[in-house]
Symmetry: C2
DNA sequence: ATGAAAGCGCTAACAC
DNA sequence: GTGTTAGCGCTTTCAT
């Protein structure tokens, strides 16, 4: 015996109405007499009818699902955004197709294409940078998109961020105010890392304002993982640096632990500031000082913005900048 | 000008073949003459045709998407599984609809229903326990499901786990061997926490084998988050306990940090073992000893199992038990 | 307030 | 090897 799917047609027959009427009650269309509505609802209940979203999607050209491109779910920065995205999506009756991209341009294109073929109503992209090719594909598809925690020069597409440059500048200023002149800037590859150029600008600006010469040797481009943070310690120490601003939380914890392994006292002998305020930053000893972007909100606001675009609502500003905080905890004096 | 979607029909017309032929080449059906295949492929390229997966789903009754119910993407234990799931899903050309459930039974049912209405080909469930209601819904839907890192009494449904009981027992035995008699068992609510009963059994068994009387006061049911771990320290210390096995990594780090805040030396004065080996466990000082389930693999194998079920392949064993390790690092002697 | 009918873009017999 | 045709389950005019 095969699974016998019951359709809107079955409901219509049992309730002695037309498919159209059933469709109306299922979709909450007010143009139905309360009595018939009840009758239909009863039959739906009795038959245990469940609307087929695929058929609906084909007929209406709306799937109520959005695609989410994420570098890696396992990265707390991105998963925090993803949580905000999903919550708001759920609130607006959307589902999320999540796809890991590993920041790999090829995978991104591929993922984008399968999302488009699945007829997602919109896309939220998280990643470091939108390549030319990706942008073209997106534009051509005419599918609404918003970049969550991702900077793009194109002001036409939606995006939600904080002011990375100023945040970075302020963080460095704290370090300078605490007496440091030799401050490391630790990031992933400057070419491919999310907002690293803006952050670097902020770093430079702070130095300049303080009259401290910029030294390229103080910039460390390393892989963005915990291990790399632990490892870079030696180079940082060898360069006689006494403070650091770190663009990634895992790296920051790695650095912190590496420092303590070498008996360097934080914050007495070395100060550092992380950049994302993922929950990791609260799990170290000493507790990490950090720039604190509203992670969940960046995701939530992104999704909200996307719903507006999908609804063709008027939008004042496509590039939203959310406020951040500077959480000075125990890795700064 | 509206977005003019290009359909299989357009391609057929331009290539002077029938829709069926286009469908064949799109689906890699071998019954097409190479020459016509090329012709069709050229037209597809030229027209930039993209198959509509929704239409295909309606016609074929397969959506090549699976639903993934996750308590919280932001939890590294689950997101690690999710990563394994997505990778294998991608490998088998499936996409993932991810939905956060917050372990909330009501949300779970709701999520399950929307997944079913979206006609997912299968479901992967992560969570603490499958409630009666949830199980009924699942069974009724006849949609293939597998439980990833989730125990269920029902041996009919697919599931992938490690032997939590034995793992727990072995971990406790290590603690006992190191001279401890007063060992805390720290978990979430015993009623609702994933495998906590099995783990507790293992704990009891180890004590019994060592002739150590079981004391209910040594069981701590606390919320599963970092903060709760930090907080429980006081109670643990007050109870004169000298070691702990902790079912959650965040809690374990919290405990460890709380201990160090009270100047309790780990592992000299206190030993502890975490249970999940999420990447958190490597980020503490001292580095956490832990039971090490193959997180990624649990996800990957779950998805692989699901593909088999969806394909109606023969399956020897629905309940898969994967091997684990015991990683004794720095929080044990 | 309700119904009839066309069609969304594709797959899957079946025929040739 | 290729074409014809009938749906898949629903939404959406357009009538009434």
């Amino acid at each position: 015996m095969e699974k016998q799917t019951i359709t809107i047609y079955d409901v219509a027959r049992e309730a002695n109405v037309s498919m159209a009427t059933v469709s109306r009650v299922v979709n909450g269309n007010p143009n139905v007499k309360p009595a018939t509505r009840k009758k239909v609802l009863d039959v739906i209940d009795q038959l245990d009818y469940r609307p087929n979203a695929v058929a609906r999607g084909l007929a209406s050209k709306k799937t109520t699902t959005v695609g989410v491109i994420i570098p890696d779910v396992t990265n707390l920065y991105f998963s925090s955004l993803a949580r905000g995205i999903d919550d708001i999506a759920t609130m607006y009756k959307y589902n999320i197709i999540l796809a890991n991209s590993d920041q790999n341009n090829h995978k991104e294109i591929q993922v984008l294409n399968t999302l488009l073929s699945k007829q997602v109503d919109g896309i939220i992209y998280m990643g470091n940078n939108v390549t030319e090719e990706l942008r073209n594909e997106i534009v051509r598809s005419k599918t609404p998109i918003v970049l969550a925690g991702t900077i793009d020069s194109d002001q036409e597409v939606g995006s939600v961020n904080i002011d990375y440059k100023t945040a970075s500048k302020e963080a460095v200023e704290v370090l300078i105010a605490n007496g440091h002149k030799n401050i490391a800037f630790i990031t992933g590859s400057l070419k491919n890392t999310f907002a690293s150029d803006l952050r670097l600008e902020g770093y430079k600006e702070a130095l300049e304002l303080a009259g401290i010469p910029y030294n390229e040797k103080n910039i460390f481009e390393i892989p963005l993982n915990y291990q790399a943070g632990e490892t870079v310690v030696e180079r940082v120490l060898a360069a006689n640096l006494t403070a650091a601003i770190v663009t990634d939380d895992e790296v920051a914890i790695g650095l912190l632990n590496g420092l303590s392994d070498k008996s360097v006292k934080v914050p007495d002998d070395f100060e550092l500031i992380a950049s994302n305020n993922s929950k990791l930053t609260k799990m170290s000893r000493p507790v990490l000082s950090t720039i604190a972007p509203p992670l969940y909100d960046i995701g939530a606001v992104s999704m909200r913005l996307l719903t507006k675009i999908m609804n063709k609502e008027d939008i004042n500003e496509m590039s939203i900048t959310l406020p951040y905080k500077l959480e000075l905890r125990q890795t700064t004096k």
